[in-house]
């Protein structure tokens, strides 16, 4: 009884949760500071900031960058509580596997620098990803000449995760409408396994078909991307500010 309840709850909750965190572009659509920047400049500056954070050894410098990140979140209309929850979630996991064992070899001071550094990096990465629309990030990758195959793979992954979530939701609903509730833990497992197998088959087929659809519209090896980003004065200002900060520190 308990088992089936648990499965039932997690089966409904997991896709909804995934959908919310991966596919919700609600924050990216708000009119905040980071949302108003050109995605290319924004990605570039975040990359610079993350590199700087990775190179810093001092806890005060790291704290400064962490504070800057939180400040950026606030002026981009990201709720602080929400942001902290989303970024701190990585810390316990991370500490358990890497930091705690390291205490014995490196000592607590080095470890705390390490933890703050990871936290800051993760925070910048999360902040960039929630304030930028998914397709803009992919386009930035393409414009930055990241190999086509890599970008396309990312895109495909994204599509499949969505498809996968949809299938789980639909199957769950279909099963529920026929059986009433997801009857048994074992059958729940079987359905999940079947789903993954059929998803795999579908994705292989879909890939082939998509390739044909691309050929049909003139694709021949290297896709040409549409670039309609515009760099404004505020982008240059932001870029020079970041360069200045990194220079001075």
């Amino acid at each position: 009884m308990k088992n089936s309840n648990f499965i039932q709850r997690s089966v409904i909750a997991a896709p909804a949760f995934l959908k919310e965190i991966i596919f919700s572009e609600e924050i990216a659509l708000r009119s905040g500071f980071l949302q108003s920047l050109d995605p290319r400049i924004k990605s570039l500056t975040f990359l610079l900031l993350i590199i700087q954070v990775l190179l810093s050894q001092s806890i005060s410098v790291l704290s400064f960058f962490y504070a800057l990140c939180l400040f950026l979140a606030v002026i981009s209309k990201v709720k602080l509580g929400f942001f902290l929850k989303r970024t701190w979630i990585f810390i316990p996991l991370f500490s358990l596997f890497i930091a705690i064992p390291a205490v014995f070899t490196l000592g607590p001071a080095a470890v705390s620098v390490f933890v703050v550094r990871v936290l800051t990096c993760v925070s910048y990465a999360v902040l960039l990803s929630i304030t930028t629309r998914h397709f803009e990030l992919l386009r930035v990758l393409r414009i930055f000449k990241i190999p086509q195959i890599f970008v396309m793979t990312l895109e495909m992954c994204y599509r499949y995760i969505y498809l996968f979530v949809e299938i789980i939701e639909q199957t769950y609903q279909a099963v529920k409408s026929r059986v009433g509730v997801l009857a048994h833990y074992k059958s729940g497992q079987r359905i999940a396994a079947w789903n993954i197998a059929s998803l795999w088959n579908r994705s292989v087929k879909l890939n082939e078909d998509v390739y044909q659809a691309m050929l049909s519209r003139g694709y021949h090896g290297e896709a040409v991307a549409w670039n309609d980003f515009k760099i404004k004065t505020r982008d240059w200002l932001w870029l020079s500010t970041v360069v200045m900060i990194i220079w001075k520190i």
């Binding site: 386009r139 659809a213 691309m214 049909s216 519209r217 003139g218 694709y219 896709a223 040409v224």
Partner: protein, 281 residues
């Protein structure tokens, strides 16, 4: 086989297929000897039950798959896979022939609707201003302004189809091939798409449509080709003649026998899909 339009030698033959066979992975037969000539500016449709090879046939026309046996020529040139390694030829062909897939999920693979629509012309080397101009025109014609920045896979089926159509029409191909363009659409959207096709044909485009929706056949075709269970063309003719041939349609699973109640009296009669949505049922 009766070939219509063969009396006037002035007509330009676009596609000519002779005894075309195709099977998937060499073991699932999909076409068993198709012969057809398609003239420029014609509107034709291929009808047939599920699995009779309509999609396969259209994909052969679009040269995304190639015949195992028999010959396919396009404007008097034999099509084969090697020919498409020639970039010049390939680009020319893709500019001339546009294909709208049965499953719009297959056709829409970009992160946003807008990128999907401009994908074709970008690959084919159209100028940017031209692409933008055509895009604006299509957005108006199809009423898809609000969809532009959304990911295509999250749209409704009707919206997906419109976007898929836009992504092909923007290339302005001379020949438009559509695989079941109205399947799963509500009557109003269907109407919209049919009107669009008729207009494109008036503008001089060749339109080749597959469907098993007999409602739309008359409007979208001068000539109708019926695919049978042997996965080849069993009959061709003028739309009016084919639609009146109840025996043919029944034999090929395009109509079914239904019983209906009219004012407490039960009638049994062959049910043409033509009157399927009549309000007096």
């Amino acid at each position: 086989m009766v070939i219509y339009g063969s009396n006037d030698h002035m007509e330009n033959i676009i596609f000519e297929l002779k005894d075309v066979h195709f099977s998937y992975l060499g073991k699932f037969p999909a076409l068993g000897g198709v012969d057809i000539k398609i003239n420029q500016g014609q509107k034709i449709s291929v009808i047939g039950a599920n699995g009779t090879g309509k999609s396969t046939f259209l994909q052969i026309l679009d040269a995304i798959i190639f015949a195992d046996q028999g010959s396919v020529s396009f404007c008097n040139e034999q099509l084969n896979e090697k020919l498409f390694d020639n970039e010049e030829f390939s680009r020319n062909f893709r500019r001339k022939v546009g294909f709208i897939f049965q499953n719009p999920d297959v056709q829409l693979f970009c992160p946003t609707v807008k990128e999907d629509i401009v994908f074709g012309p970008l690959q084919l080397g159209f100028a940017k201003e031209q692409i933008q101009k055509r895009l604006d025109k299509l957005i108006d014609a199809l009423g898809i302004q609000d969809l532009l920045n959304r990911p295509p896979y999250q749209l409704s089926i009707g919206e997906k189809r419109k976007v898929a159509i836009a992504s092909t029409l923007i290339i302005e191909p001379e020949i438009l091939i559509l695989d079941e363009p109205t399947a799963g659409l509500d009557p109003l959207t269907t109407r919209h798409i049919i009107d669009l096709l008729i207009q494109e044909n008036i503008n001089g485009r060749t339109i080749i449509t597959s469907t098993h929706d007999l409602h739309i056949v008359e409007e979208i075709s001068d000539l109708v080709y019926v695919f049978g269970h042997q996965r080849k063309i069993v009959k061709s003719g003028l739309a009016g003649d084919i639609l009146n041939d109840t025996a043919l349609l029944t034999e090929n699973n395009l109509v079914h026998i239904h019983s209906h109640k009219h004012k407490d009296k039960t009638h049994i009669h062959p049910h043409l899909h033509l009157d399927h949505h009549g309000e007096n049922h």
